[in-house]
Amino acid sequence: MRKQLLITAAIIGLAVSAMPAGPSWAVDPSRIENAAKNPNDWLMYRGSYDNWQYSPLDQINTANVKDLKVAWTHTPGRATRGLQSMPLVADGVLYYSGSYSRLFALDAATGELIWSYIPELNEDLIAQQTHSPYNRGVALGHGNVYVGTVDGRLIAVDMKTGAPVWDTKLVDSEKLTVGFTGAPIVVKDKVIIGAQGGEWPWRGPIFGVDAKTGKKVWEFFTVAGTEEAMKTWGNESWRTGGGGGWMPGTYNVAKNLVYWGTGNPAPLYDWAGPDWKTEGPRPGTNLYTSSVIALNPDTGELVSYFQELPHDAWDFDSAVGEFLRIERDGETYIVHPNKGGYVYVYDEMLNFKRAWPLVKNINFIEGVDEKGNLIGRRDMREGKHTNLCPAIAGGISWNTGTYSPRTGYYYKVGNEWCMDLEIVKTTPILEPMAQLNIGANFTFTDPEGGKAYGHVDARDPITGELAWRIDFPEPPLASLLSTGGDLLFVPDARGVLRAYDARNGAELWSQNNGLGHNGGIISYAVGGKQYISVAVGWGSLVGDAYPDLFGEPYKSMATDQGWLVTFTLPD
């Protein structure tokens, strides 16, 4: 099968095709559905609906990557909490968002500004938000660029001019505190975006919005979104349940299904311990938190789901991960990492196939059985507990891994860290505005027998079999990229962008970008030249823990700077 994949890749992988045609300003649904077949563009978050985060371009390859040089840089300004977004490219124009949802369209070959759009946001609200004001990306389609805002809006601007087209308020962020930080996706005639949630006492909806008019068409509550689900929240705890869908999912064209990962329930930790089915702050399994769900994009109706962590008591979202679509031996698999450190494998209807651990230090469960049930749950009662692994930041964080059809490997960052905690009975705070509901005091700790660290693994995405691993003194927090040139790019936490041979992990090139990486990386081509563009900037909530955990260079690392750095080969 791997040979078949290689042949397919060779056919669609192509070398860079010189495409002199200027911007067409039209990214229609069929073009998005076929995104993987046009390597010159990078049309959506994680590259295509297959979510491979892979570029077939091979002009930059293992032989010449040593010559890679900076082509241009651009700074979005006001880079509070760095630059966490994923740039997109269509027809030689690069679109990206900075903090405060500041939008830029640049000539993708030179970095020259075409237009910018700086939305006016509720600054008083932003000053009161925790998970703010970063933005993790935009969507393209129907002649527009779409971006969410931390004050609860979804905005469309004209791809050609940057002029606002529509601006729809979807969430009462002034009351609920949460808004949007994740990228939207375009599915046919809809823009789909998920709200923040998790530790916030609300119901974390996902929205389907008409792409042309901005009218809200549907809203699916990840907390008690159906009658069935409402029964899984004792004492009406669904009213403050958390959830959310704060990172983008993807779309299965053939099945007409939108896959989305959902956030954890609130409070994060549950004083009822093993009695969670009938006692505590949220008795029951708490559907559809910490789950993967499949929605009908036309109606928002739930078609299928799998709850990865029934009654999540550890803050291990399913919101973090990509949905890799992998075909093997006549079967189609959907591969989805969970924040707890396990990678889940499903069929297209989200029927569980298996789960495998990416991370070594996991003790919140002993394992996952052949039906997807958690074995040996560590349900902790009110009081002190030590050495819970992974720590609250997860064995897997929100940036995306990458899959190369050439090597057959799935490349993904694993985090090795633990924590001590004291679980406390808390109550949701809703007035005058919603507040975090953690439910514990905690302290990060090193894993037993060593220091906290991270690693990039090359594994079989279906079986989890390890091919090779690269250790890092601190977990990289940026997205990875693999390419048709057999390169794996890892933007690390200290600020060094590293290129490896994707086949064996040999380091081939590195460039110090001067500041930690915490966002996206893509590849595209303009005028017959391949480019690599990476977000540079530090300051996510996970990264905020690094100064205390690891000391320098994080103690002095700026969290209010960011820039996009784009590389190419010399002429």
Binding site: Q128, E199, T427, A440, T443, D560
Partner: protein
């Protein structure tokens, strides 16, 4: 409809007295740390985390009061709408009284 449901839910919770951590008419600051502040100020403020350690801070009361009210952009939310002057005084008193866990448990 959905928004109405969410809002009516909050009203129900408020009616049930689930709005604010309070103990004997005072702000329950330890509980507040377990729900909100401890996300960044670990172990009830005894340890650094995303934010600085608060135990043994050399910052003045005025500095802490201003920081709680106004926050610090990109680092700490502003809680001026959440807390009255009296609430903030109680938070400062809690911070001043913080001791290491071992010491606290032997008292």
């Amino acid at each position: 409809m959905a928004a109405t449901l969410a809002r009516s839910g909050m009203i129900a919770l408020l009616a049930a007295g689930l709005a604010f951590p309070a103990a004997a008419g005072h702000l329950d600051v330890p509980n507040l740390f377990a729900s909100v502040c401890g996300f960044c100020h670990e172990d009830g403020g005894r340890h650094a985390g995303k934010g600085p350690q608060l135990m043994n801070t050399e910052r003045s009361d005025d500095f802490i009061r201003k920081r709680i009210r106004e926050g610090k952009r990109g680092r700490m939310p502003a809680f001026g709408r959440m807390f009255s002057d009296e609430d903030i005084d109680e938070i400062i008193a809690y911070i001043r009284a913080l001791k290491p866990r071992e010491q606290a448990s032997t008292e």
